[in-house]
Symmetry: C4
Subunit: 281 residues, 4 copies
């Protein structure tokens, strides 16, 4: 990064600040962004609490506007500095960034849209990216690769859960009937998922002896089934643990450089070209 020529344009400077985190300015930007996002979530939460909103409506509204404007500036800056603006706009994070600013503006025109400001909570996902620092990357990488490796098994498992729930939910609807809260099959299936996952809200409960007997079977089934995803993931972790144990010891020096052209990350420190699109870094 130190070899970067001093005569880069303000656009490139801004790009480095916004999309990368190796320079002090970039780190500061990320920190401010992190704080602003957390503050915006806190604001949305406080606003939703009636008693607080009534007392501090003016303060909350102004803070809301300040954050909306900050987010708008960030959104525009991101579009300007990136080489392929359309790619950013249509990307997952681009859409979320837009969704977290638009509702506040719309609330000036339409009355009901204010509640959509809550969509700003989705910006929390960016926190994952901001905090993708070397140390945490290591841990979440292991997590993600273990989950990825067991993806097919977990899909089959979830698939089985849904089919079992539909079948057992239908049977419970026939057994218990509308008079005991199982008013229709979708609700019955919902109850079955609540029971199978051992959540057990208790808003709907079987009343007939036969229904309670079947419910007992469902609960024991759910209690046993929980062993399956655990077994899958654990087996994956255990094998990774053994294979990658020595690798984990060596420090990770991934830089936070991000390709100007295609926004891909995870380039090596000494990389001169993007390993995805070949664009000069």
């Amino acid at each position: 990064m130190a070899e970067r020529k001093p005569d880069i344009s303000w656009k490139e400077k801004l790009y480095i600040i916004i999309y990368e985190a190796d320079t002090p300015a970039g780190k500061l930007f990320d920190l401010i962004l992190l704080v602003t996002i957390l503050a915006s979530i806190m604001l949305v939460m406080l606003e939703s609490v009636k008693s607080i909103d009534t007392r501090f409506h003016a303060v909350l509204n102004i803070s809301e506007w300040v954050i909306t404007i900050l987010f708008t500036i960030e959104y525009i800056a991101r579009i300007i500095t990136v080489k392929q603006p359309l790619k950013y706009i249509t990307s997952f994070y681009g859409i979320i960034d837009l969704l977290s600013t638009i509702p506040k503006y719309l609330s000036l025109i339409f009355a009901g849209t204010h509640a959509l400001v809550a969509l700003r909570a989705l910006r929390l996902l960016r926190v994952f990216r901001i905090l993708k620092l070397a140390r945490f990357l290591g841990a979440s990488d292991t997590l993600l690769s273990a989950l990825k490796a067991s993806r097919v098994k977990i899909t089959v498992f979830l698939y089985a859960i849904v089919i079992i729930s539909v079948i057992l939910g239908t049977i419970m609807y026939l057994v218990e009937g509308e008079e005991n809260g199982f008013t229709n099959i979708p609700k019955s299936v919902y109850w079955c998922i609540v029971t199978l996952t051992t959540v057990g809200f208790g808003d709907i409960t079987p009343q007939t002896p036969l229904g309670q007997f079947i419910a007992s079977l469902i609960m024991i089934l759910g209690y046993g089934i929980i062993a399956v995803p655990t077994g899958i993931v654990t087996a994956e972790f255990t094998s990774q643990h053994k294979g990658k144990a020595p690798v984990k010891e060596e420090p990770r020096h991934l830089n936070t450089q991000c390709c100007e052209n295609c926004l891909s990350i995870n380039h090596k420190d000494d990389a001169s070209f993007c390993n995805k699109c070949g664009y000069k870094l």
Copy 2:
């Protein structure tokens, strides 16, 4: 499959379409069957919702009849094409296939039987067979073989759960009594299973201090017990993971051929005779 002689009868052609999935027609048939089953489940669900049934009764009823007739045709076709019809009729899937068509016809004669159409949900199990494609087979095979290997241990475990529940449920009945919702021992045992599996509906809860103390012990017991099935299955997965890791890498080329005589599946690609009954494929 390509070496099959061109002069096979229409029955054999139909057989290949219905029971196998290697030909384009066979794949199309499976796809249509899958969609029809899912549609039929959706129909049964919608019908059970009062508000929807009142508004769209005619549409739902007609769709219901269309699907019933389609299922009937499929059922008859399966009987005609298979070499040993009785074997199919008395098989698990054969009975389910019948149960998913009969209730609708019966509803013409008897009033109350319509609700049994919900039994059609059992046809969802066929989805497992339809989707038994090479890739998923691998995953569910591992799942099933791990579960099979730990079958005895799990049986002992479930057995212990039931005995513990009966004993603790009886004790709770004596401690709490009818005035606190533990009206009889079966209900008390039901409550105990609800608690031991950490489902916790909350429709029945201990009210006396002693009852709450015993309940606390049951909960901690249940919380600890969950480790047992998890441990069993995980140990199985871990050992399979190690032993079968290289095997899993090689692609699986299981064909979907199904013996005309005994309906057994999982034949090798180059098999000329059924490995179960010796019938020529």
Copy 3:
């Protein structure tokens, strides 16, 4: 067993039938005992259901007496045949056997004691002993030895759970107070155990924002803590799985012989003396 001299007394014959299961008569005795115990549990359950008891009171009462007399005969036979009757009477199973007959006799004199018949459920524990056949022994042995090996760790864990519950329960009592259902500290601790073990009855729930915040922390803690017993037991199972895998393959030929003198079991087939007390078998 075949070398046993034919001139053994009727006492010894009875002993072999009651305490061992290698002879056809012994097996039959165990089977009858198993069925009788299950029938007695079923009876106790049915009796506790008001509607059934009202209609079939006479039938249930007579069956109850039949079973009580059968159990009494068995109890007396066990005392007569065993060499050290006091050892049996004061043993765990001896006390349970007595407790399952006494209450019915007492109900003739005192009115309230009939409910204690439910203590008969404890006899279900004998089922474990009856079913201690070679095959199940293998599985439950692995289970038990894994649990035994991780006994100290599990004790420390349960200990930590109780201390955490007391501390968090006390804090919740201070935060929520009596007006929100946390009427006293023991109840608060009970609530905390309900929450920590993810049972969640919902009979008591935090109402204040601070209480809900602390409750959230408790829940996430409980969700994370469940990993600990699972980890302990799984690690134990996995290591046993590896070490004992070849051992498990070889068939177990444990006989069901039981020392007449000290009631210890698990003697080898060719053993001539008890391996606990040296008494001749």
Copy 4:
């Protein structure tokens, strides 16, 4: 310890009794302390139960004062005997020790502070230290080191849980709205944590079909997610199990000596100087 010179001051003698557990007097002190702490917790609990407090108020109040005075004496003795009193006073245990005596004295002056006596429950944490005997140390060491090794992974995991809960809680607030109990976003997030951790109180439950559908997804997600911490901790345990198995066999002879200067523990038996501050033991 036997080589200790007989001419040590009473302060040093007291120090050895209070802070160490190798001498009979030290062991007795620890035992009395343990019993007193448990008794004080029991007292606080009984006092919080209205019916008991009304009947035995005088007895409870006197016992309360006895324990408060005992704790005060212990607190003062600890300050006097230790070389660096300030270090003890500002240490974690020092603050807890103070907090468990102060409220009772304050209750003489201010009316409302009595409830704070419940803070005494925090003294239970000292039980961990008292019971830090060789045997349990081994087990809890393995527990702690396994948890420490997976610290980063667990942090990332908990972090993800919170973010998922905020996002899903916000969505549920938008979907269900105030009329169905999701009165504000913090409450909605609380509900989401209750559901995701499979606790499921049932005080707030989704009422709309869409809400129930999203709730089902959250439950299945939570059911699957539980595999992650389990997998992490198990993998850690399994690897420790293998590596440390022979180490665990050898008996641990840690003495309970505690540095007079800096209060650090876990010194070797033959240590003459504190391994933390170099002070002579």
